[in-house]
Symmetry: D2
Subunit: 387 residues, 4 copies
């Protein structure tokens, strides 16, 4: 499985490198050691929507937040709700305990209940003490709405699909675009829902990794900006005849890092991640659930402890600015990667999400990059002379 579906380029293949930090090995959330991802993609049927029957353009994505089992060794986590017109189950508990103790599932909005139920089943099998000594568990399931392309009411994700997604999580390259939960999603009205990116960043003498993965389903075609260039406006005419869905939307942003941080620090990080949505041209439309979930793999909090205390090393807030900067970069690039990877997707009833025309976009981006380099204005590198 390649990192990008069907040989399509990633953003960097178009010559764009967002920000100033180096990327991790796979430029993916899995560059954070221990983070694992898997997609189950469901594409079946075509033609008019028959609710409950199809066509099917959906899937499920599973993310294991860290090495081993998060139920026994929890990770510090936190969230930020930029726009709450969306659902992430388990968010109350993440905010209250500052911990994530389950895998994270992504899916279609109307499938949240059934994916949550399947995750409870999967966890209960692995942890027979659930419902007995370990009380209970509340899984983390996040969603966007794929009903423009998919028979959403059909809720076509099965418990077996969820188990397959969970059982197959792995490190290494992450497939992007119209895969897993992102199968029927659109980014700025182009096909593609899953994107990822990572950065290496040095804080207080140690090199850490931060990676993002988005389930992206937001944005207005005409407002798309790629690394600042108003691509959406430039290519609008070319797509003027392709109908755009109405008010729907949403984006789920997952941010993982090995920087040792508490809930409060991860909450701050989550708020910063939202800024990337603005950079790409989003404004968090009324109907667009935009929710960020961040976690740190550095300190693990055991479910059971003999000691009643734990000792953690934490980064000081005063050292953290490069991580903020790099995180915004990863989210911006993850969104744009989702966009680059999506292939034309035809859904029910003739609804269509076109692929981003990557060759044209590459040419436009290149023209902007060279605008100032060739024959620069004479004063550009002349030192500033105060009056």
């Amino acid at each position: 499985m390649t990192a990008s579906a069907a040989g399509r380029p990633r953003l960097r293949d178009l010559g764009v490198a967002v920000g100033r930090f180096p990327v991790g090995e796979h430029n993916a959330i899995t560059d954070v050691d221990g983070v694992r991802v898997n997609h189950v993609t469901l594409v079946e049927g075509s033609g008019k929507l028959v609710p409950g029957m199809g066509p099917v353009r959906t899937g499920v994505t599973a993310v294991m937040p860290a090495h081993g089992d998060p139920f026994l060794n929890r990770v510090y986590a936190a969230s930020y709700v930029l726009n709450g017109a969306g659902e992430v189950t388990g968010l109350n508990q993440i905010e209250e305990w500052g911990l994530c103790e389950t895998p994270i599932l992504l899916c279609s909005t109307l499938c949240v209940g059934r994916v949550a139920d399947a995750t409870v089943a999967w966890l209960s099998q692995r942890h027979p003490k659930i419902g007995q000594e370990y009380d209970v568990v509340i899984p983390v399931v996040a969603e966007c709405d794929d009903s423009y392309l998919n028979d959403a009411v059909g809720r076509h994700v099965t418990p077996a699909d969820v188990a397959e997604a969970l059982d197959g999580v792995r490190s290494g390259p992450v497939e992007e675009g119209c895969v897993g939960a992102g199968t029927g999603m659109q980014t700025f009205h182009f096909a593609g829902g899953i994107g990822t990116s990572s950065r290496k960043v040095e804080l207080a003498g140690v090199v850490y990794t931060v990676g993002s993965l988005v389930l992206s389903n937001f944005g207005n075609r005409n407002l798309l900006r790629m690394d600042g260039v108003p691509i959406g406006r430039l290519i609008a005419e070319r797509f003027a005849h392709v109908p755009m869905r109405g008010p729907a939307g949403s984006i789920i942003v997952l941010v993982a890092t090995d920087v040792p941080m508490t809930h409060r620090q991860l909450s701050r990080l989550s708020r910063r991640a939202a800024l990337a949505i603005g950079r790409t041209g989003g404004y968090a439309a009324h109907n667009s659930g935009e929710i960020i979930l961040s976690w740190s793999t550095a300190n693990r909090i055991p479910r059971l402890s003999d000691h009643g205390r734990h000792t953690v090393e934490l980064i000081l807030d005063t050292e953290i600015d490069p991580l903020y900067e790099a995180t915004v970069d990863t989210v911006e690039e993850a969104i744009l990667n989702a966009l680059c990877a999506g292939e034309d997707m035809v859904g029910h009833s003739g609804h269509r999400a076109p692929a981003l025309p990557v060759e044209l976009v590459a040419e436009l981006l290149q023209r902007h990059r060279i605008a100032h380099v060739v024959d620069p204005p004479p004063s550009m590198n002349k030192p500033f002379q105060p009056r």
Copy 2:
């Protein structure tokens, strides 16, 4: 069906009237015009826990927040999370849009996914435009953990149970105690999970109604206070040999009113409702999800509108104090009603929640009430003389 299970008394039958306001016709959340409730109670089997098989001590409770269909005519709503170690699906959207647009379901923690899924099915059947013109829906499902008595892992609530609960919602008296979602719940380690109460309160010349319904599953037996009297401490010895479950807990509080209020005002109301938990002897234990959801039936917000604007009459905040006071009273009384109504409940593996000994409690409450009335201290009614 009587308002109190099996002929057990309600708190007022013990001679206690919390606060100074009159109650509504049924002293129930259904006294708020349009609010409807129904329980489906599941009790099957006995003996040792066989996960997935039983014994079953659970159920589901459906609450319709207002007249008609909340999906088409939404109500203003808001929440407060006193302790987020619990789940209410749809809460992000309630906070973001300030609206509740679905019925509210209560159930066992591990059933949340499947009850949410069944509610999506029920709503999709009634609203065929879901997944098409109306985009999607996120149902509101709240939980407490009944695994001490119930085979929670078995997730014994079926889609048919959910549909039955929803189809049967009705106004009038509300059954309390070990019914519906409250079947396997405990309040201060006594049997009983569902309680309700209401008040009439005059604001700016108009008499309104406020009602609460709790799914109560919290509290430490020894700390129970009833109208201020330390009943838990007084009767502790009598129950010393009955094992208490460990760290579990939780309470979901629903508050409905016909006072015309916005999201912000309902958010304030929700924070006040939490104070009642303190009055009964709760302190929001680490593991106890304590979440309040409030709504107003007064202004309905249509799903679709030709006008793009709506005009609402709102109570001024400066008039609202009596409602705050009355709301705390209803929540306190609803919790105590849950406690009074619960009959002895034997769950799996010999786990047991005893009924509150209501005759003894009535006698103790009575002794406290008369302590100051008979032979009052000479100075009690002597006017204060400033020095």
Copy 3:
């Protein structure tokens, strides 16, 4: 200086011990090692209000949150706003950084600006790098409104008063009632604004201390409950002829502990502290700012660090319940101590706050305590027999 003004009793002298935990040496916030308090009390003039001239019934209270200088060695801190109709400057920063880095000042609402300004001056003198290497500082100043008794518009607290309060902070007994910022305050319409209390509590094998100090200015006379007993209702008639101020109110609650906790944990603690307000009969009236600020003295976060990281030992959330319970108890007792300590206070224009009639109250409390002990109901200590 004695712990209680003018020889008046504290709550425990009336025979009431709130909760089940032992108190610290002084039953005061200063029992938390390093916490220091000082009051400057301003009482001058009498008669009709002449805005800007008097009469003066106000003051300022300074609290040093820990040993040494919090500006150089910050403490973890967090807050909870039960009702935001009040002001605590610096709260944004406490919530963002999870730290308190200044002393905490309490005063009259209209004095907040000038007390904040005086605190900036006091801090700048001690830390010449402020405004240079250390950038700037935002002091923490909290308020209640004493305008019913005091010439609030006159803003009679001077920079010298603030400096005197800060310079004189000390451990040991804390004066309560109508002193410092509490001079012109009222609790349930009785005189007295400052109260304090503490508890010893064992978590995971270590005995810690938690202490509260309140600036209390809230409550409706008729609703007062003392340890559950409806004292307000019982003695209402005696005070029926004493006018009560209108809609005013507010309470600031400070909670200090040596339990090693982060911001998130202190945020949870702050929410619990609010429950005590409900126990005493408060319902957080519209106009009553009710704000809790908590901190831990256990881990100190240096302003400057060579390392960029710090290592902290933290209590696990699963061990924390006794602290929650004890904290609610301290806040309840601190409020009631403020009430017990206040002496009759006559303010401007004949406005008056009477002292609580402590002898009568003691007798009423005693009657309730013995109600169940003498000649208990036969079934009270008979073991529960399941059916």
Copy 4:
């Protein structure tokens, strides 16, 4: 007084129009009918910093949120704290009551206390019932830190300056750059702290106005983006020899509109406004307080009312997306206007904030704009052909 200091251009004079909506008459927050602004600018002395003496590079800016007196006729308001390392007094009350009832003052961090005190004095003179029938008032004062250029510890703003700022508020053009509270501020390490912008936007058939005003003091020079173009990176070399202050930051964003909105809706608007900070290249540095305050002039809430209720017309959330989009545009443009308007500012101790080199920037922006227009790629306007 011209809208831009000393004849410097505004962003639009450089050929850039952010977004797709038309601007108001003055492209200023004062285009929202009733909003009035005034600056008092204090520049005195030069040379080495002598704390308490100078040099002075500071000021105060007063904003009257609506026609008439906000104390008697309050406006709906709400806030969002992107990064709480900053202070806005009165924010608790704005969030609790959903109202702004005072003018808004902007100033240097260390002046907040004294500006708040002066505002209390100014308000008390106008409203003699304050401290009597009207209880008290908590003014809204927001800050950024100008200590890199200004003798901040000197707190050079006097009560007379505050009164002058308040007395002189007016509609019409708003001076930008190094004026009022923005005198000693820097935006992306260039001189200039005050900027403003407005848009006309049609919602549900009515044309409304939204305007922003920023006190901008944030950003890293190299990261500056203007309408997406990485100006900071392009001109970095030219300023490489100009030292940059250390721990940057802060920005206060004020957003006014005549769209009829509640607190909840304004809270959503505030969160969107923050996205503009990301667009310009900000990432909300640890030390940078980034706070947004929004209000609507459409419905006025009287301080006193005979009726106890009020009737308001509100825009439906479903109509609001264009306002979100336009608001982000105004904030982006306001920040860039602050940058364009600032003239070289030399502060204490040789600290310096250079003016943005607007001619060079104009040329760079122009090159980017034409990159795609001249000789466009052949496929750019060719209609998309699905496969």
